[in-house]
Assembly symmetry: C2
Homo-oligomer: 352 residues x 2
């Protein structure tokens, strides 16, 4: 292109540089770049005087190592990917905090992907993992990248450590962190029965969801143990959202034979359902008792205050992060971690 001159080397950028580089520090401290690097990474391997010189130079220049370069060379990013179905859902935010805390303590950062049910996004984040921008991943969405929920389809060839949180992942040999959904749901069903309810309606989670399956089984277990018969017309579909709770509420308002107790498999649904019942003039718990699941912040201040199952959300997050960190450090970690739930009795369930 430049037709005139003989080949001329690209000018050394005249604008000094965007940031301070390890070379600049090395030059100022009159040592090699290797020494600077070691002074930071393995201080005991550098003589005290040089170390001091390096530190001084770093302070003067305000040097910060470029993490991208470090990642490229060391093949470690110090980043963890967290994949979750819905960022805007209250239930997840506290879990996230638990994850964040624990990762931070271990020096890791967190990249969040709100899947939002979009396969397109899913593909995008698969790329992330193969592309070496994260060291590991925590999955809250119940299936692996590139796999459908039933475990079919090619499993993307992910070769980084992964743990599954809350929703177990079928056919995957990775650590699972969860609560015992089945037992928890059974306990709540039995509790409702113990308060004299014999027609216990169940508002489900999304069809096919792993949590839902377990909770449903727990519901059936509970009925059986309480000596109650199961009636499929007492199962209403939901998807854990406030809106689906309201829909379920409407269907209850309109039906002829109303239940005396309702077991919603999320607090959001319980709150939405109660809202609908109250608006229709049905009193809670006097006319119908309603129980929830999760114990989100608003459960305690709802009117009436919600009887529910407490999940240790922050702990779940912490446990998942801890398990992943263990994997990243090539340590052993249990295949299954189950945290305890607690039946929280408040005002939304009363005696029949």
């Amino acid at each position: 292109m430049d037709d005139f001159g003989p080949k001329r080397r690209l000018e050394r950028r005249s604008t000094p540089h965007r940031g301070v580089r390890i070379q600049d520090v090395a030059r100022l401290a009159e040592v090699s770049t290797a020494t600077v690097s070691r002074a930071l990474a393995t201080p005991q391997r550098v003589s005290p005087e040089k170390r001091a010189r390096v530190l001084e130079a770093i302070a003067q220049t305000g040097y910060t190592p470029n993490l991208t370069a470090r990642s490229l060379r060391s093949q470690k990013t110090g980043m963890v990917l967290v994949v979750l179905p819905d960022l805007a859902n209250t239930f997840f935010s506290r879990i996230l905090r638990g994850i964040e805390e624990t990762l931070f303590e271990a020096g890791y950062g967190m990249i969040i992907s709100d899947l939002d049910g979009s396969p397109e996004k899913e593909a995008h984040f698969t790329a992330f993992t193969t592309a070496g921008r994260v060291d590991g991943a925590i999955l809250l969405n119940g299936h692996l990248f590139g796999q459908s929920r039933d475990g079919q389809g090619r499993a993307a060839d992910i070769d980084i450590p992964i743990v599954a949180l809350c929703e177990a992942i079928p056919n995957a040999d990775i650590p699972q962190i969860e609560i015992d959904n089945r037992t928890a749901a059974r306990k709540m069903t039995q509790y409702l029965a113990s308060r004299g309810h014999r027609e216990i309606l169940y508002v489900s989670g999304p069809a096919g969801n792993v949590l839902e399956k377990e909770r449903y089984r727990g519901y059936r277990d509970g009925l059986q143990r309480a000596g109650l018969s199961f009636d499929p017309t007492w199962v209403i579909p939901g998807d854990y959202t406030i809106e689906s709770g309201m829909r379920a509420g409407h269907s209850i308002v309109q039906r002829a034979n109303r239940p005396s107790g309702v077991f919603c498999t999320s607090d959001e649904m319980a709150i939405g359902l109660i809202r609908t019942l109250l608006s229709a003039g049905i009193r809670v718990p006097q006319d119908i008792s309603v129980a929830g699941f999760d114990d989100i912040e608003f459960a305690a201040v709802a009117e009436p205050a919600l009887t529910t199952i407490r999940q240790p959300r922050q702990e779940l997050g912490r446990a998942a992060a801890a398990a992943l960190i263990a994997l990243l450090q090539k340590q052993e970690t249990p295949r299954l971690i189950r945290l305890e739930t607690e039946l929280v009795i408040r005002d939304s369930v009363t005696d029949r």
Copy 2:
């Protein structure tokens, strides 16, 4: 450390390689690495046949470019840092979703930092930006890295684009995205007055908070326009949390002269406060009317349903992300973007 062996050359990794590299693709397609790179980045600059060969080779090998290497070379990370005070707060999660959506559409990823009031963390994330792992940042916490809230202290020498969301940052020449808190608070105060309330109690946000200052001004404005006098004993401190709402509720229950209307500057506080009032046998809204701010999901299903100010949260997130993206692409963007709020009238405020 290993005292035994003679120096031995490091074995060339016998396991082939962790991932497919651009070289592998180039070799298979019988082209240079430059051509592979171009076939992906600027397809029109590569002949159709070679492009086809490259694509074929990529498909066969399952190659994905290593993003870390790309970032290092191109000095772009495709990542944005989002700093927020409290991840577990419902208010932020929907904003986050707006941010995430817009960033995703533009091909950016999101790194989240939950500050949680810890200066230690703040320092950590300052490092992030100087260290070149993100291209830009969205700040929801009301101050710059390394600066105290009043703008004092050394401003960290951040040289990446930054936008401030919700909380304006004093003394910083960066785009702000926010709502008109003052006007919104004035409207609500005037609305309460229009329903006949003359003793309007104000539950504040955290002292010093920028939002709080604006809303407080709006409250004073509203009183004035309604011809009501201001009484400092009608201001109760809060911090936007459910708990602080409950505390405010208790102080109302215990005081001699109760207000007829309460303006809480967050829905969380309103819900906590209502809970306390109801528990004390005070009816809402019959005895005391309560208004909120934000219109979070639970506002509509609370009992009574909350009269509040709707903030377009997802839009706020989208706008902030869009502004940042503009900056990243060296485009112009307004210094101040203000989104409209809306007075949402439900059941928690009634006539005096």
